[in-house]
Point group: D3
């Protein structure tokens, strides 16, 4: 049962034709990860949009924040789970496994986070992420207060909100273009 070998249904330009700054990033990915994430390849159809996407990705997922990188990746997987995004679940699921060293935790986040044994802070963050993804129009003061009650600051709430919002952007790009994840993610940190 051969699986899809496309990266994006909208096609992907040959990397040799990319601008210098992007080719430098391609090389860096190859060196560090062993591959270029397919989301970059798919986005390289529009170089300036790719640059904006990478800038936002780096800030949201990797910059200093009251939320740890693992927490942000857990949020990413739960948001992707709410909308069944194959690309994001595979890529961010691998990140959860790597950052936590706990393969089961990644599975739980992807399949149904409610079964995981989480501390109240993490549970509150993931409940907020689910609601903000599924029924954003119903968020009210009480939802923000539930985050404050487990000691998230206003700054933490901003970062949580933007992580959720960013994933709602990125999984929709993946769904709209039928983006396939790199195979390397599957075996990582099992």
């Amino acid at each position: 049962m051969p699986q899809p070998d496309h990266i994006s249904r909208l096609g992907v330009p040959h990397p040799d034709g990319l601008d210098d700054d992007l080719r430098a990033i391609w090389r860096k990915c190859q060196d560090k990860l062993g591959f270029v994430p397919n989301v970059y390849s798919a986005y390289s159809l529009k170089p300036q949009r790719l640059r904006n996407f990478m800038a936002m990705y780096n800030e949201v997922m990797l910059s200093d924040s009251g939320l740890s990188k693992l927490e942000r990746e857990m949020v990413a997987v739960v948001v992707s789970s709410a909308n069944r995004c194959y690309y994001c679940l595979v890529a961010h699921g691998a990140a959860v496994r790597m950052l936590s060293g706990d393969p089961e935790l990644g599975e739980m986040m992807a399949l149904n986070y409610r079964v995981a044994k989480l501390d109240p802070r993490q549970r509150a963050m993931l409940d907020f992420a689910w609601k903000m993804t599924a029924t954003p129009w119903a968020i009210e003061d009480a939802d923000r207060d539930a985050l404050r009650a487990v000691r998230l600051t206003e700054s933490d709430i901003f970062d949580l909100a933007e992580t959720v919002a960013f994933l709602n952007l990125s999984y929709r790009m993946a769904s709209a273009t039928d983006m396939m994840p790199n195979r390397e993610y599957h075996g990582a940190a099992r």
Copy 2:
């Protein structure tokens, strides 16, 4: 982040107290799989109900049928995915990986089967399984005809229907009791 160590929230009797026939099955599982599936342990609270469950499981998933064992496991994973059953996704996902030798196929079934490259027969089976799980009241002649169009016989349709129905029973038992899958499934056939 220590994960749940219970098998079922309703408790599990010690295996030494089980009837002889069940203890024999426990030994066989240990020999063959290296562990007793937690669904059996959870069900052993009620020995006769466990026997009935095992009889149905064996007939539905393992007996001769126009649907291959892999196809039935694919159906099982898709039904479990529709309702985000952690136990079933982990256990049947491992079965898909083992039977297909294709780790990605298991992931696709669990996360969003629509992204997989399937032949029309399998796709029709999985679409029927999803609809029969999510909106059974809306199934009409046209849905059965779509299966006949990809050459399922009446007998095949019966077997497909019972596979879907059985999984709708078993994932609800797992959800209602917060059943946890054996850890051995996670690493299997990656």
Copy 3:
């Protein structure tokens, strides 16, 4: 307006060709009820699967349990109502009328159980049955605790859960095969 005269859209074998044990059951049904329930006829396409189904049905609905037979039939009707299964609503609705001697109670269970005047124990059971049918992934400790609060034991919760789970199997078989209920149910115990 002539109504459907089929039993199942997948066809039904002539009873004379059935194995001896099944023909004995057919005779017993004729003697006791005056008819063979159509679910048996529909399932007789696959004799071993029918045997497993009957064994499970008898254990779940008729064996000793902390839940009375009437309570289990009420659960059956509410589960069927959640998914608008014509066969199950007619058959189990008749059972509620017979066991309770209260025709209105059967109607309320079938049409909207929330309007019935129920004691807290029954209401809690039916709320759990609805949730376990409609959104099983969202069941958590609080839902089981709500049952314990009205004095269901762990054993009762198991039996309640399996009643719900079994009905989720059987109404899906009815929907998938467009199974029609025996006409005798309609007038029974009005």
Copy 4:
């Protein structure tokens, strides 16, 4: 298991205190039906609103129309079924049984109209009624054209639409006030 004996949770004035025209209607109901429909009693809290309701009811359900009275009652039951209104299902279900002389037809309309053997004109009417009840915002030219294709005139479509709309008013009054149907409906025309 004693069932509710209230008529409406908002209370009902004593009939002796009603205006002459309403008392005349009460007497006419007693003579013709043997009882005053509870919806009238519930509405008599506000006499002018009751008069308007009765005027609309009579025009929509009983005046000359390209839709037969039975067809309008079938529509009424299906609309009530979509929203699980106990009062309306019991009252209009009885009307379907009386007008059709077919107890099963009433049950099918109430429980899941898709299982009934209907001619294309009736099926199209009921599909429109369901959609107009459940997702009115999604009705487009194609839905009206489907009615024209089974030879409904513009006048028939207007009458069908107002029947659906009126029932969406009346079952909501019943739900909002927890209105109970008269017991006489249950046994009628079984």
Copy 5:
């Protein structure tokens, strides 16, 4: 981008052919509003049904009640918002702007009432209106008690319920006939 110029997809009779009482109403509308509301024109296809509709409209929206006219218009907009009825949102939105003198309030009611700064009484009324529109089958004593807690009388609850119910009738007529609002509403009271 020329927008629709029809009033109703089912056609509208020429006003000159209407009965005297209706022509008098047409003249009164022209004098008072400068136009005849399209809902009247659309309904004039069936004069008696129009008369019933106007009688109910006047009683529900304009008669004396414990709910102010503005409150009833706010309810009307929120009910229409729940089902995305273009006609009703434009017409009743204009009424909210006129009665409140607050253009933003009309927008909030139409787009998402949860963002408005409302007193508890109004918020409770609108929450009830939303639930009674979206999931009427789930209304229970607790929902009525929430209205009593903010001092709505039984009479007020009746009027609130009928306002919600009436709007559920009228927006469905608008959706079923693709009724277009008069252009005059758009600029009114901005």
Copy 6:
């Protein structure tokens, strides 16, 4: 009825404390629009995140593309409508009115785009935008082909997808922080 005067529930820093580049943008907004859009003020809590957001906004909504600016604003309003985002509906609704010179078109996009008279290309774009927002997991080749059928290029599809995805990010930030739109939008281009 005084309406909310906050900009974001997470607070907003005083503009005088912002970095030079942001203060320059604030001045430019004041000069050109007469106000600083509240989304910028809300985001200024985190200057680098604001810069990334503005870069993406400018590229997605304003750069050269096969989709006109009006078309992108129509998409923005429809995406916001699907999730009832007050901020986005007010801000992008004003943009549709300004770019189209058609106040009704803005209303239709915000309230129910299906009632507008659109050419097939625009209708296909908005149907895709709705589906990609509401059920992204169900997008398949057929959905992309429907866009190609009305002559969108692969590049146009990419831009459409990113417009939808970006709005799914931005309205979630607005919902999560209860962001209020500037009052200037309400009266603009009526």
